[in-house]
């Protein structure tokens, strides 16, 4: 018998730290490398984010590194072959750069908007956004528009922060925690760590979700709810909290606009606006403290925050000049009057008593289990406090609320509920993460007109910004869109993350205009990242009358043979996460903790495979070749050798001291947050486990919207421009400005007539509930069911569910349905069924489940793959039994009064309404084949990929796939 030699772990073994990228969490990892190959990847115990733990994906990183789907060579579609046919030739990087330089150079010189850059990952925007701006194209976005922009916008426009990278529940001190809708894939490992501690500390966890999966499995109570009705639930809870006086009055008076008086004169340009005094406003001040309260004792209007004054929150008053007015809170109270628990029961399917009880639990815990921490702090108005108070009720939510076309207003309702309970940036409630909180809205603004888009000139404004009113919209003189995706137009005024989900359709239709080159990075737009996948695939290869492609040139940068790669004309092979430098930057979306800013890096632990190049280096090279200002000096000379060099030496402005990384700045690394470039910054990160954690003094860790010490510190370190208090917008005057314009009551920009009613309706300054737009336009008698998707924990946010180990956990998906639905429609568990919407239908296998609201069907998303892609065999279950629900979800709404091609999105933010689709489910015919439909032709491996499919058996041992596995070994 031949023995397998015992692995000796000390020879040729090295342990290196870097940052995981198997999903978007970005945990710290330790990678054991043996003889240059990966032996083991484990969580880094010294890392503040994951504290040593790792998830199923992180522990399967090896199979990502050695995936047969990896691209290794730049590829060009063979001349004379059709796009999508998968005929490519290998080319050199030099040639690839040459092609891009020539094409993009010409576009920049003539018409920069004809270049569109869309990236699937929004954690690299500091670089990709900068490139787009410097190029001068308005057509740039990351995937936020089809992910969770409603959560970002709804909360940031209300409390100046949001969940996940921006903030979250303080489970360390919370006593009652609500998770509403699917939210697990955002901040998954830290949430798991905290949730188990929370439960062990005796906290009560309530999950409100149509489906009991994910973390809801360990909830103390599961409250099933009909999809898209969360707003009704939250508004009914708000009503109950107000009715019983369970709100934190002190918090509302001091830290929100609840007591501020609003002009209720009808038919005036001031209608619904705060009444303001005429004291001069400091330049750039985003929320001047020049409003009024109504003094309870003297019964008169007084300047807000006047010493010793206690204002009314309710009532109707008249100013001396006869102006009728009400405090903002009064308007909220009136708004929720009709939203009784009984009303909400009919919409949500949750009985009224349960709704009342949920409100009571929140109200009582927030009020009666107060936390007082002996932390001294000073508020923005100079008042000293000897303690920090917390009301220990917390929430987490992401796509479950966000991916509906009523999500923005629903999330406003959630933010207001959290505010009523007095939980914002307080112990046990919601806490911000640096660089949040931001002003409401944050300062960056999009460009405002065609004058901001000029050849050979950087874009005037940020490609993505935060409009504060109609003047900040990016529209032409007729009020029509300038961006390809129609972001920041009257159709989706607050589309702060863009609308990537409409970019291809709009480019194909030439509406608002045709483009020339579409560059996609890590974005699977020919598959699971597009709505209406079947049609989008056709658009990508569609030609005009002259036989030219409607989208003339497509560049795809990806590390793997995703479904989109075959639709590219030029393919750029990206590296894996173990082969690249990367910065999780303060300029982007860092990984901060509640106690202070945290940023991190990736440092290669392996050399790039084949000719792979990190996409960041490609951007730096292109920026230099195109002589874009940031990348070259005034003489056109290249400034940065590569991305690594740029990260060290780039400053937001000459001498600003602000760059990609906040740690070890200053010439010898002695400064934090701000300081001169440090030539040894990468080495210092490397020595410190690739992470920089700045722990702030305790007195800066809470109440940051109003914490003078914190705001001063943040301003001194250029994290924020103004050190003014960030008061919570219970009432949103910003939304009212859009509404007044739509009503024609204000001068200045007005929406096109077809959109007036839409803007007037949805830009309500107070939250309200409405049926999702698609449902409003669907025959719900015919399509009675809601269809949802989630991702399974082993594949949250992952980019490679074809991974050899992970795909054994989920190798195909089912449509989960209630047994009641099956019984009523004559099909059984495991049967092949059709799921059909008004847009299309998909054949799939069903599985009965008792853990879902019976009017809902759902499936795991992105398990289904197109045949032959991702290095899988044509026979792989993913393409035969696995399916994609995207085929029944449209990227556009049916024609209606707002237009013929309006995005299937939230009318405020442009957030894709993935979860709004209505379907019916019926048994597939007995004679139908047992495989999914639609299916697509099998694609073949591309040049540079592994030529031969792997053997029947694969055994991985520290970087080597053993060809001859002996029969012996084991433990003696």
């Amino acid at each position: 018998m031949k023995n397998i030699p015992v692995v000796v772990e000390t020879e040729g073994v090295e342990v290196k730290t870097t940052t995981c990228y198997m999903c978007a969490c970005r945990c710290g990892i330790k990678v054991t490398v043996k003889d240059g190959e990966v032996r083991y990847i484990q969580g880094n115990p010294n890392h503040p984010l994951n504290k040593g733990v790792l998830c199923a994906k992180g522990a399967s990183g090896i199979m990502k590194q050695y995936s047969p789907a990896r691209l290794t060579k730049p590829l060009l579609r063979k001349p004379g072959t059709e796009r999508g046919a998968g005929e490519f030739e290998e080319i050199s990087w030099d040639k690839a750069y040459g092609i891009m330089e020539e094409r993009l150079g010409k576009l920049r010189e003539e018409d920069p908007k004809k270049f569109a850059l869309f990236t699937g990952r929004d954690q690299m925007q500091a670089l990709t956004g900068m490139f787009a701006k410097q190029f001068g194209t308005p057509n740039y976005a990351a995937h936020g528009g089809f992910c969770s922009v409603n959560m970002a916008a709804g909360m940031i426009y209300t409390i100046g922060g949001s969940f996940w990278e921006f903030g979250g529940p303080d489970l360390e001190r919370s006593k009652l925690f609500f998770m509403i809708g699917t939210a697990e894939d955002h901040h998954s490992n830290p949430m798991k760590v905290e949730l188990s501690k929370f439960k062990r500390n005796g906290g009560r966890f309530i999950a409100i979700n149509p489906v009991r999966t994910g973390y809801a499995a360990i909830a103390d109570e599961w409250v099933p709810i009909k999809p898209g009705t969360d707003g009704a639930l939250l508004l009914a809870i708000i009503r109950e909290i107000i009715k019983l006086g369970m709100y934190d009055r002190d918090f509302l008076v001091n830290y929100t606009n609840s007591a501020e008086l609003i002009d209720i004169t009808t038919d005036s340009h001031n209608e619904g606006m705060f009444i303001r005094n005429d004291e001069p406003v400091e330049e750039g001040c985003f929320d001047p403290q020049n409003k009024y309260w109504w003094d309870r004792v003297k019964d008169e209007a007084v300047a807000m925050r006047k010493e010793g004054v206690d204002p009314f929150l309710t009532g109707e008053f008249e100013l001396e000049d006869g102006t009728p007015c009400k405090p903002a809170f009064q308007l909220l109270k009136e708004r929720v009057e009709a939203y009784t628990p009984e009303w909400a029961e009919g919409i949500t399917g949750i009985d009224a008593d349960t709704i009342r009880r949920l409100a009571h639990e929140m109200g009582i815990v927030a009020r009666d289990q107060k936390i007082e921490l002996p932390i001294q702090w000073t508020d923005a108005w100079g008042k000293d406090h000897d303690k920090v108070i917390g009301n220990p009720v917390s929430f987490h939510s992401m796509r479950g609320l966000a991916a509906h076309s009523n999500g923005f207003q629903t999330i406003r309702a959630l933010s207001i509920l959290m505010t009523l309970l007095g939980t914002i940036d307080r112990p046990g409630g919601f806490r911000h993460k640096a660089p949040f909180p931001r002003p409401i809205p944050p300062c960056p603004k999009p460009p405002t007109g065609w004058g901001d888009v000029k050849p050979n000139t950087p874009l005037n404004g940020m490609p993505l910004g935060w409009p504060a009113g109609p003047d900040d919209l990016f529209v032409d003189d007729d009020g029509e869109a300038i961006r390809l995706d129609k972001g920041f137009s009257w159709e989706y005024p607050l589309s702060v993350h863009g609308l990537m989900h409409n970019a291809i359709t709009n480019a194909w239709r030439g509406d608002p205009y045709p483009i020339d080159t579409l560059m996609l990075f890590m974005a699977n737009m020919a598959w699971n990242s597009s709505m209406n996948t079947t049609e989008v695939r056709k658009m990508l290869v569609d030609k005009d009358e002259e036989g030219e492609y409607k989208i003339p040139f497509i560049i795809v940068a990806d590390a793997y043979h995703s479904e989109t790669v075959d639709f590219g004309d030029l393919i750029l092979p990206d590296t894996s996460y173990l082969e690249r430098h990367d910065a999780m930057s303060m300029l982007d979306r860092p990984i901060s903790e509640y106690d202070g800013p945290v940023d991190a890096v990736r440092i290669p632990v392996l050399p790039p495979k084949g000719e792979c190049k990190p996409f960041q280096d490609v951007i730096v090279e292109l920026g230099s070749r195109l002589k874009l200002p940031t990348f070259t000096d005034e003489n056109g000379k290249r400034k940065f050798k590569d991305y690594r060099d740029l990260v060290i030496n780039f400053e937001t402005a000459p001498g600003s001291g602000i760059g990609f990384l906040a740690g070890w700045r200053g010439k010898s690394g002695e400064k934090s947050m701000k300081g001169e470039p440090n030539p040894n910054q990468w080495e210092m990160y490397k020595k410190n486990d690739c992470v920089f954690h700045y722990e702030m003094p305790k007195s800066f860790q809470y109440m940051r919207n109003w914490n003078r010490g914190y705001l001063h510190w943040a301003q001194e370190h250029n994290m924020i421009r103004y050190d003014e208090p960030i008061n919570i917008h219970v009432y949103s005057e910003i939304l009212q400005k859009f509404r007044l314009a739509a009503q024609g009551k204000t001068e200045g920009r007005q929406p096109p007539d077809r959109l007036r009613k839409r803007v007037e309706t949805y830009f309500d300054p107070l939250p309200f509930h409405y049926e999702p737009l698609e449902s409003q336009l669907t025959d719900t008698q015919k399509y009675p069911l809601n269809a949802l998707t989630q991702r399974p924990m082993a594949m949250y946010h992952s980019w490679d569910s074809q991974n050899a180990w992970l795909r054994q956990i989920h190798t195909h998906n089912y449509l989960f349905v209630s047994p009641i639905l099956g019984r009523n429609n004559g099909f059984e568990d495991g049967d092949w069924v059709w799921v059909e919407s008004m847009h299309g239908k998909v054949r799939c296998m069903c599985r009965f489940s008792e853990s879902l609201e019976p009017g809902t069907v759902w499936t795991w998303n992105a398990i289904g793959k197109a045949s032959g892609s991702w290095g899988l065999d044509a026979k792989a279950n993913e393409s035969n039994k696995g399916f994609l629900l995207n085929h029944v979800i449209s990227e556009e709404l049916p024609p209606h009064d707002a237009g013929d091609h309006v995005s299937n999105s939230d009318p405020v933010t442009g957030q894709a309404g993935w979860y709004d689709v209505r379907v019916r489910v019926y048994k597939a015919g007995d004679n139908e084949a047992s495989h999914t439909l639609p299916r697509f032709d099998t694609v073949k491996p591309l040049p540079g990929m592994e030529k031969k499919r792997r053997n029947k058996w694969q055994g991985y041992v520290a970087g080597k796939f053993r060809k001859t596995l002996g029969r012996s070994g084991g433990l003696k």
Binding site: G43, S60, W805, K952
Partner: protein
């Protein structure tokens, strides 16, 4: 005598499968490896895993529980897999109670897997030997590793720290305490196998609401009442009549 074991807390396990792949990742290149995969990129892929998570639903809507149940070799104190082994390949270590397989002696007859009532053993179809959880015996005594890392890979990775590791015979150990205080139980004790691994059950936290908590005297609504100043009374009052 030492008996090493895992105690798995079902109250916090969310079924994330971190234990499943971190186990495979460590062990495929370790002394119990390789852990082969068949049709890794093809139809019906299937491979060796020492640890799997079974997920199931209990009850009918809306009283449904979703349970995630990680399962690996339970390192029984009376392991039925050992006496049935014709070659002595399956054995239980005296010093720490870990049940192991000597691949050199294993002939792949599968008697042990038939004898195991828990289905915890996996035949490696390629090597044709029986494989199973070793409690990462090649980690837990490895002096080259920091003390804090001398733990099974699954325990280190588990994001909810649902997996405790230690000596269940030491009554002062973390695992013994957890079993004692949190109703730890064994799987199918009626088989007399005395599994060393234990599970901790789900627990529910509820809040009792008392009626008098719903409305209180310090209710902020009271501050919204108008402070009324009445007009002087018009009719006769005591002031018109009194003779003090």
């Amino acid at each position: 005598m030492t008996q090493l074991a895992l105690v798995i807390d079902l109250n916090v396990c969310v079924g994330c499968h971190a234990c499943v792949t971190s186990c495979k990742e460590w062990n495929t290149s370790g002394e119990a490896g390789p852990m082969v995969d068949k049709y890794a990129y093809g139809e019906n892929p299937t491979g060796t895993f020492f640890n799997r998570v079974q997920s199931f639903e209990i009850g009918t809507y809306p009283q449904t529980e979703t349970v995630h149940f990680p399962k690996s070799c339970l390192h029984c104190e009376e392991p039925p897999c050992v006496p049935v082994c014709p070659t002595g390949a399956s054995y239980k270590r005296e010093e720490d109670g870990i049940v192991l397989v000597d691949y050199d002696k294993c002939i792949g007859c599968k008697y042990c897997s038939w004898a195991c009532p828990y289905g915890a053993r996996e035949i490696d179809e390629k090597q044709r030997v029986m494989k199973k959880c070793t409690l990462c015996v090649d980690r837990i005594y490895d002096e080259a590793l920091p003390v804090s890392e001398r733990k099974p890979a699954c325990v280190m990775s588990c994001p909810t720290s649902a997996r405790l590791f230690g000596d269940v015979h030491d009554e002062n150990s973390e695992v013994s305490k957890a079993i004692r205080e949190r109703a730890g139980y064994q799987l199918m004790p009626e088989w007399g196998t005395k599994p060393a691994n234990h599970y901790l059950p789900r627990r529910k936290t509820e809040i009792k609401i008392h009626k008098d908590e719903l409305e209180r005297v310090d209710n902020p609504l009271s501050k919204e009442e108008r402070l009324r100043h009445n007009e002087p009374g018009k009719g006769p009052s005591l002031d018109d009549m009194s003779n003090w």
